[in-house]
Symmetry: C2
């Protein structure tokens, strides 16, 4: 039996999982993503954590297939990352760099594309030939499978749905430098931004006013408890989400849209809210698109990353 690592590099934490070649996740752990010094510590941290694990578990390196890694930004098929706005990175070959640091073969892909691959391989998209996967985390990413194939695009920048423009009236800038990107409304930070904007713009009573350093989870918890301000904030979020997912569906005509990432922990209310506005905005030929939660949860990225070295 041979083994390998799947690494899901996020803006806040790095998830590392150890798999056997049959796709069984044997163990997993997390380390923080240290973004200081233009993100230069991130790959050495990952290499050190994997080296520690190999040595602690006395793993025979000849049984290792290598490392697959998903990164939050465009990655070419050769492994060149082209700026990861959330990490401070420029343009370099991450496969070569991480391979040099670990002595193992490395394959890299966009994190959301890789998570889509994971969900399509082992999760909610199993058996589907046309799927949109939206990762609603610190940022918003996407992964698309059309006619059974992962959509890479010309430079590996396919499915960058978090930077579609959804509001041309927006005044605050997105991390990417544009204004009005999906990510400013549908990510965890986007939900908090809309919440703070809402709370500052009116004086409606809300339990959210008592919370310092509001989080996305606080907003969903308050809405579940019936807080009317939180419900109105999430209605705005669902409207943006339904609208942009309708536009994505009108481009690729999927069977299913799978929502993953931290925001998707909100569960059924999120699916219902997004689907309600989706139905309002989508072309009639896409009305039967179903919505599902990522069943691999936060592990989708690790599964898909490992699948990169299997394929």
């Amino acid at each position: 039996m041979r083994y390998g690592f799947g690494v899901d590099l996020g803006g806040t934490t790095v998830k590392i999982a150890y798999f056997n070649e049959q796709g069984e996740l044997l163990t997993k752990w997390e380390i923080p993503t240290r973004k200081e010094h233009s993100g230069s510590l991130i790959l050495p941290d990952i290499a050190a954590s994997i080296a520690d694990y190999i040595s602690r578990e006395n793993i025979d390196r000849s049984t290792l297939l290598g490392i697959g890694i998903g990164v939050p930004g465009p990655v070419s098929s050769e492994g060149v990352v082209n700026r990861c706005v959330n990490l401070g990175w420029g343009v370099f070959n991450i496969s070569e760099e991480l391979s040099r640091l670990t002595g193992l073969p490395v394959k890299a892909g966009n994190d959301a594309t890789v998570a889509a691959l994971g969900e399509c391989w082992m999760g909610s998209g199993k058996g589907c030939r046309n799927m949109v996967f939206a990762t609603l985390g610190t940022g918003v990413g996407g992964g698309i499978v059309t006619d059974g194939q992962v959509l890479h695009g010309a430079h590996g920048a396919g499915a960058e749905i978090g930077h579609m423009v959804i509001n041309r009236e927006e005044t605050e800038p997105c991390g990417c430098g544009k204004k009005g990107c999906v990510e400013q409304y549908c990510s965890a930070t986007g939900v908090v931004r809309l919440a703070n904007r809402y709370l500052n713009a009116n004086s409606a009573p809300s339990v959210l006013r008592k919370i310092e350093n509001l989080t996305c989870k606080d907003v969903f918890d308050a809405a579940n408890a019936g807080d009317s301000a939180a419900l109105e904030i999430l209605d705005q979020v669902y409207r943006y989400m339904g609208e942009f997912l309708a536009n994505v569906a009108d481009v690729v005509n999927p069977e299913v849209i799978v929502l993953g990432g931290g925001v998707s922990k909100a569960g059924q209310p999120l699916l219902d809210g997004a689907k309600k506005y989706f139905d309002q905005f989508v072309f009639h030929a896409n009305k039967d698109v179903s919505f599902a939660l990522a069943v691999l949860g936060n592990d989708a990225g690790a599964y898909g990353a490992f699948k990169l070295i299997l394929a």
Copy 2:
């Protein structure tokens, strides 16, 4: 040598072309699209026109490969059309129906997908593996090639980019029943609609005010002659066009965006105007996407339709 027909069914005219199997267009002609009686005359008209041609030219029917046809709406891989809003059609199998009327094998595809196939086969996309084709005609359609394959989607409704929502403040309905669709701004009828709205909303002098039954061409001609109202109207059009094409590019990451259909006769000013706003709205990874005019012009659909029966 064998031969066949490529048919491009539009909202105003039907273009019919006769090809040899090497893809040479030997002759072409047009007939009007008669939309009365829920579009029930359209296929009999096409069948009669092709039968006339075969008999007039004394064509040996055993040399005929068949007929490919592009239709303005979603078509499944089995040939089932799912409502063509501009023709008044419901749901039926167009391949079977036209085959019954002509006695020839028929393959059908979405008109814009088929035009994209034509441009990719013999036109501006020759050699490209990732292309977006936008047909700006009576309506707006799209055809997408990703990683060398035509994007069909789950039910043949891929690339329905004319019904992406671009303006959630729109008050007038689109032909599809929604409000704020791309088609309401970027089609020939959309350009005229924006022009009339602009002229009614202010009293700025313009040569357009003297024209009864304003056409899209009138607006472009006036702009080319320096009419400032026409220039402002087209600036609105270009902004919508650049924004929606940026969103499409962020989903599929093409090498080139090809503009076809009647509106594309406007030429370089259209390319420049759309590209200017595209650059403003698109994610940085897609900034190098080039814009081109369909070189097959109005024949792209016929080429692609004929390609359907060759493939």
